[in-house]
Symmetry: C2
Subunit: 146 residues, 2 copies
């Protein structure tokens, strides 16, 4: 007996932008910048959409504000990720080993670099480096568990 | 010609605590709690040591304060990690697939849960969930790059 029904499949769109800079170090940095920048921009887009739905008004001004915020935050997330990825790669090359200490050292270096770029208080830079190193280590451990 | 020299090797101490709770879900949660809790406690220890060196005074009161802060922050980091790891595992079991969307959904769920436990403003909970989901996704992507 023939049966009628509905069958469909949904697959999420996949965009994989690969830019070859001719150097593994640069490739990773650009990859990190683009991917994490996109995640940061999506996060702002989701937040602003929720804000608009919550308040119930959408104006041209709001949309413009959201777009500029998306660009800013996306660039910031991308920069942080690019710096971290390149630091970890550099540490891996120098140490010649691939373990969680790379993440710790890379995280601490990038934390110090990013913090040092935005403020000049030496104590705060060291604390930010410690925090970044700890977060990177935690992330590395979580990775092994999940 | 015999040469005299110094040769030594240093290997960092390794402690791997494995507690079998008889259930993969519980095992991961406990594993995440212990490992990330330890990282959080180490972070506070490093910070407080730097503080003491920076100011140049060490007192019994300071050490006690540092120890209590280590316990508090370690427990907080551990709880967050435990919740996240168990959420990702749960999402993986429900979806039957293992990709970056598990991290996103797990991150958003844990963000909502942790934020909802500490405050009751619905808007803030949703924003925290969005941020946590985005951070978890970014971490998953960074993993693939490094």
């Amino acid at each position: 007996m023939p049966r009628s029904g509905f069958s469909g499949s949904f697959s999420s769109p996949k965009i994989d932008v690969v830019i070859d800079m001719g150097n593994p170090f640069l490739n990773r940095t650009v990859d990190g910048f683009l991917k994490i920048g996109a995640v940061g921009a999506c996060k702002v887009a989701a937040e602003e959409t929720f804000e608009c739905l919550h308040r119930g008004d959408v104006s041209k001004h709001k949309v413009e504000h959201a777009l500029s915020k998306m660009c800013k935050e996306g660039a910031y997330w991308g920069t942080v990720a690019g710096v971290y990825v390149s630091m970890v790669y550099g540490v891996e090359r120098v140490r010649g080993r691939s373990d969680w200490k790379n993440a710790m050292i890379g995280g601490a270096l990038s934390g110090a670099l990013i913090s040092g770029a935005s403020n000049s208080d030496r104590g705060k830079v060291v604390k930010d480096a410690i925090t970044a190193g700890a977060v990177a280590t935690a992330v590395e451990f979580i990775n092994c568990i999940t």
